[in-house]
Every structure is written in structure tokens, then in C-alpha cells.
């Protein structure tokens, strides 16, 4: 009897990503009515390419959210990483070496975010908001507040985001996004780390009581998120061949929005990389569709706000159906 009841209530929300899929289809439907070009293959690939950079950020942020925390510093790391890289490269440090230094920096940064949050027992909202301002200040200091141009290391950074030699506007970032979504799916659902991270986010005290030290898994999630933030930054830097601090502003909020649309719970313990993937694509289709529909692009921000709230409401329902409240 009970078993049947549980099964039937779960049916409607069988998959973590059902809300995200619904949002995406709705967005596609509406914008195709406004402009049939929206659904053309060329445009869909453009949507995918623009969604990839924010999406890769979202994959990392998603992991932190599953661990029951937030990382608001990813936008600053996104700009600081290429700025450090180019500053070193322009001082004749070999580019591979410069890249390695940035990777090490991102790992240390993530460890810091996680360690201060978990050991200092303060909300990650505070730790990473502070980091966001601090790192933005550092980025402004290094760049002198100016655009940093990609002069050294273009060849190396092309591994992240070179245009693909095809007729359409599609870049390597799309492939990275595809592959990383799958990798993150495996990490979350199929590994011991994923299992422990979900437990650490769902109920850190329970995890600790059974001997799973929640701080470790949360901290690793921060490290991975800050690495993906750096990766996203390199992709943007390669695509625009220049970057300044304004590139990273509010990116963390877009990433969180993508995750919430994707069904990830703000309360931790539950989330999906495929959901974050669909969430990021929803955001970029919104941006793209508004342009094709001839609407002023500042509506983009207004729509994001509305979708975020609707997704939040949807998640509450999904949560009670999937986890009993």
C-alpha cells in the first residue's frame, strides 16, 4: 500500500530534470512563434555555444549546491584566472607554465573557500561574497582596471574554445560542455565522492555522525567549482581575445539560476548536472530568442528573474514529491 503510494506520487517528477526540460521546451515554443529562425540548426548551435561558458560554470556551482553551500566567488575567479595567465605570459613565463599556475591558484582558492566555510562554521554565502569582492579588487589591481588583451598564449587557450572548422558558429566550448556534463553526471550519481557529497549537503551532522567528514567533501566541491570557473574564464578570454572585470559581474547568479532551473535544491543534497546543463541552455535560448524576436535585450534580465522564481516554486513541489518535504 505504502509502496504504491510512494511510486505514484513520484511518477510525475520521476526525473530531477523534468522542470528544466519543461522550461526549455516552453522557451523554444514561444520564441519559434516569434521568429521561425530560432529553431534553425545554425541558431540552435549558436545557443549551445553561448550556453556552454555559463553552463560550465553552472556545473561546478551545481556541485557546491549539492554539497549544501554556495559559491558566489566564481564570477571573480572567472576574470582573475585569465588576467593572471596573461600577466604571467606577457612577462615571458612559458604559457603552459602560466596555465599550470592558474590551475594551482584555482585549487588553492577552492580549498580556501571550503576550509574557511566549513572549519570557521560561517555561511558560505558570507565567505564567498567576501571572496567575490576581494578577488574582483585583486583583478582590478592587476589589470589596472583596463582590458587585458590576449597576446601571448592564444594557441594554448584555443584548446578550450577554438572555432570548429564547420559552416556553423560552433566552438570547442560546446564539446567541453557536453563532455563535462557527462563527467559531472558520473561524479554525482556513480561515485563514492558523489554519494558522500549528497549526504554532506543533505545533512552534514548525519554524515559526520556516521564518520563521513562532511567538510572534506564540501571543500572538494569548492575546488572543482573554482576550477570550472577558471575554465569558463579561459573560454571567454579565448573567444573575445580580451577580458576585463565587468565580464564576471553577476555570473555567479546566472550559474545559480541555471542550477535552480535544473532542479537543484537550495537546501543541498539533491541536484543534477543534466539539469544544470538544461538550465544553462534555457538561459542562452532566452537571450538569443529575445534578440531574434527584436526585443530589447535588457528584458533578458527581467525574464531571468521571473524564471528563477517560477523554478524555485516548482522545486518546492518537486522536493515534496521526491523527498517528502
Amino acid at each position: 500500500m505504502l509502496n504504491k503510494l510512494v511510486k505514484s506520487t513520484r511518477g510525475a517528477f520521476r526525473f530531477k530534470e523534468s522542470a528544466a526540460l519543461l522550461f526549455l521546451l516552453l522557451t523554444f515554443f514561444i520564441f519559434t512563434i516569434f521568429n521561425p529562425l530560432f529553431i534553425s540548426i545554425g541558431n540552435l548551435l549558436t545557443i549551445f555555444t553561448t550556453g556552454a561558458e555559463i553552463g560550465i560554470l553552472a556545473l561546478g556551482v551545481n556541485l557546491v549546491m549539492i554539497g549544501g553551500e554556495f559559491d558566489l566567488s566564481v564570477g571573480s575567479i572567472y576574470v582573475l584566472s585569465p588576467i593572471i595567465f596573461e600577466t604571467l605570459a606577457s612577462k615571458r613565463v612559458p604559457t603552459v607554465f602560466s596555465l599550470a599556475i592558474v590551475v594551482i591558484y584555482a585549487i588553492i582558492q577552492g580549498f580556501f573557500n571550503g576550509f574557511i566555510t566549513t572549519k570557521g562554521k560561517i555561511p558560505s554565502f558570507i565567505t564567498t561574497l567576501g571572496m567575490q569582492w576581494f578577488l574582483r579588487g585583486v583583478a582590478l589591481f592587476i589589470s589596472g582596471g583596463l582590458f587585458v588583451l590576449l597576446k601571448e598564449g592564444k594557441n594554448l587557450l584555443d584548446i578550450f574554445n577554438a572555432p570548429l572548422p564547420v559552416h556553423w558558429n560552433i566552438r570547442l566550448s560546446s564539446l567541453w560542455f557536453f563532455v563535462l556534463t557527462f563527467v559531472f553526471y558520473v561524479i554525482i550519481e556513480k561515485t563514492q565522492f558523489g554519494n558522500r557529497l549528497m549526504a554532506s549537503g543533505g545533512s552534514p551532522a548525519t554524515a559526520d555522525a556516521i564518520g563521513v567528514e562532511s567538510w572534506k567533501y564540501k571543500t572538494i566541491a569548492f575546488i572543482i567549482a573554482d576550477l570550472t570557473a577558471a575554465l569558463g574564464g579561459f573560454m571567454a578570454f579565448d573567444r573575445f581575445a580580451s577580458i576585463d572585470v565587468s565580464f564576471g559581474v553577476e555570473l555567479e547568479l546566472q550559474a545559480i539560476t541555471a542550477c535552480v532551473i535544473g532542479g537543484t535544491l537550495m537546501s543541498g543534497g539533491y541536484g543534477s548536472s543534466l539539469g544544470a546543463f538544461l538550465g544553462a541552455i534555457t538561459l542562452s535560448s532566452l537571450y538569443n530568442g529575445l534578440i531574434l524576436a527584436g526585443a530589447p535585450t535588457y528584458w533578458y534580465q527581467a525574464f531571468i528573474g521571473v524564471i528563477l522564481i517560477i523554478a524555485g516554486l516548482f522545486n518546492v513541489k518537486a522536493k515534496s514529491a521526491l523527498t517528502g518535504g
Binding site: N3, G194, A199, S203, T206, G269
Partner: protein, 245 residues
């Protein structure tokens, strides 16, 4: 040789003396009721035995050797299973993930190791069958379980991973009458198979049925111990708990 020996254990939190020179022993296969009013020091004692917090002074011996567990993982490894009232299971995770939390079964090689999900589902399903309480499919999130089902999942997990001593914190609180029966029966069964149980509770009548010895704590001190015989009635223990120190 006693399975667990507690010798002169004390623990203070600031000015509050949570445990004051407490000593007792638990034999193999024995069910001991740990009783006392709110704030008597029961949960502190449980947490110290489980290695979750460290005592200020005193000694703990497990299977005859002194132990200094620094984490819950270490005591679990040695054979102590704890079922906390609120911290037993993670609500959002399905039963099988909870069952194997911290002791996951992996397959694969070196860094490319992945959860052996089908194995873990099948194993947890088997381990939770025939406990006297029906458990829903192991894919069900724990949030959907009743109080008794949660207890059974947590206890079943402890037994499966080879616990020699189970510390049960209020196992019959928020549990239906029918499920309470099943849990009490199961505790008796455990005792017969040689597993020792410390049963922490307010409910003297529940523990009276399964325990052979009762320890009463009051303000961190060991106030009285009772051994079950023909003359002992639950009311004697209740009077002891309620009487002034």
C-alpha cells in the same frame, strides 16, 4: 571479559558537568537500559562511546583494550554502531545510499572506481528483509519512511557492518505501537546472537521488556543500577529516576 568498560569518565561543557566520574561495564550479548531524565548525560555518554566527542578524563576499554577513538569512523570500524535519534539517516537520499554511506562498495580500477549500485541495492534489500518491519523498495528516499522503518534501516545497517555493540538513542520514540513491538523483538534477537545493545530511553516500560540491566544517570552521575529479577518492577526504576539526587 566485558565487551565495553567505562572507567571514571568525566566531561564538562563550560561550567556544566555533563558526566561526573561514571563507570560501568557491558557484557557480550547484554541489553542495558540507559535511563535518566532530560539533561542527565545520556547522549553525552553515547557520543563519548561512539568517539564523536572526547572525554576530559577516564578510560574506555573495548574488548579488553584501551581505546581513544578520535572519530565516529574509528569506533564504527572497531564494531560500535550508533543510531542517533535525529541523525541516523539523510532524508533526501534513498535507502540504499544511506545504508552504504561511508562504506560504499566500488568496482573498477584505481582512480576509475565507480559505485557498484546494483550490488548495493541488492545487498541492502536482503539485509533489510525479515527484520519484522516491512521496508519499502531501497530506491525510496528515507524521508518517506515511518519512525520504525528508519530505526530498522539504521539498526540493520549497523548489524550488517558487523557491530558488536549497538547504541540506540530513543529507538522507540515517534514509533507506532506495532513497530515498537517489532523493534523490541528484534533487540531481543540481537542479544541472543551475541550483540550487545545500549538502549537509551525515557520509556522504562519499553526497555524493561528487553534489558537485563538498567543504569540510571542523574546530573551526570551514576545514580543507581538495577539487575532484572523477579522482584524488580518498572516502577522501582521510575521512582529512582524521579527521586532527588
Amino acid at each position: 571479559m566485558a565487551l565495553l568498560e567505562i572507567e571514571n569518565v568525566s566531561k564538562s561543557f563550560g561550567y556544566v558537568k555533563a558526566l561526573d566520574n561514571v563507570s560501568f561495564q557491558i557484557e557480550k550479548g547484554e541489553v542495558v537500559g540507559l535511563l535518566g531524565d532530560n539533561g542527565a548525560g545520556k547522549s553525552t555518554l553515547i557520543k563519548i562511546i561512539a568517539g564523536y566527542i572526547r572525554p576530559d578524563s577516564g578510560r574506555i576499554k573495548f574488548e579488553g583494550t584501551p581505546v581513544h577513538w578520535k572519530s565516529a569512523a574509528e569506533s564504527r570500524q572497531a564494531g560500535v554502531g550508533v543510531v542517533y535519534q535525529d541523525l541516523a539517516l539523510v532524508n533526501v537520499l534513498p535507502i540504499w545510499r544511506n545504508f552504504f554511506l561511508g562504506k560504499e562498495v566500488n568496482k573498477g580500477w584505481r582512480i576509475l572506481k565507480f559505485l557498484d549500485i546494483s550490488n548495493m541495492k541488492a545487498t541492502s534489500k536482503d539485509a533489510l528483509a525479515n527484520l519484522g518491519i516491512d521496508i519499502p523498495p531501497v530506491e525510496t528516499p528515507v524521508a518517506f519512511l515511518s519512525g520504525g522503518q528508519r530505526q530498522m534501516v539504521a539498526v540493520g545497517r549497523g548489524v550488517y557492518f558487523g557491530a558488536k555493540l549497538l547504541l540506540l538513542d530513543e529507538p522507540t520514540a515517534a514509533v507506532s505501537v506495532k513497530e515498537t513491538e517489532a523493534i523490541l523483538n528484534y533487540i531481543s534477537q540481537l542479544s541472543k546472537s551475541g550483540i550487545s545493545v545500549v538502549f537509551v530511553t525515557h520509556n522504562v516500560y519499553h526497555v524493561f521488556r528487553v534489558a537485563s540491566r538498567f543504569i540510571v544517570l542523574d546530573h551526570g552521575r551514576l545514580k543507581a543500577t538495577f539487575r532484572k529479577d523477579d522482584k524488580l518492577a518498572p516502577e522501582d526504576i521510575i521512582n529512582s529516576i524521579a527521586s532527588p539526587l
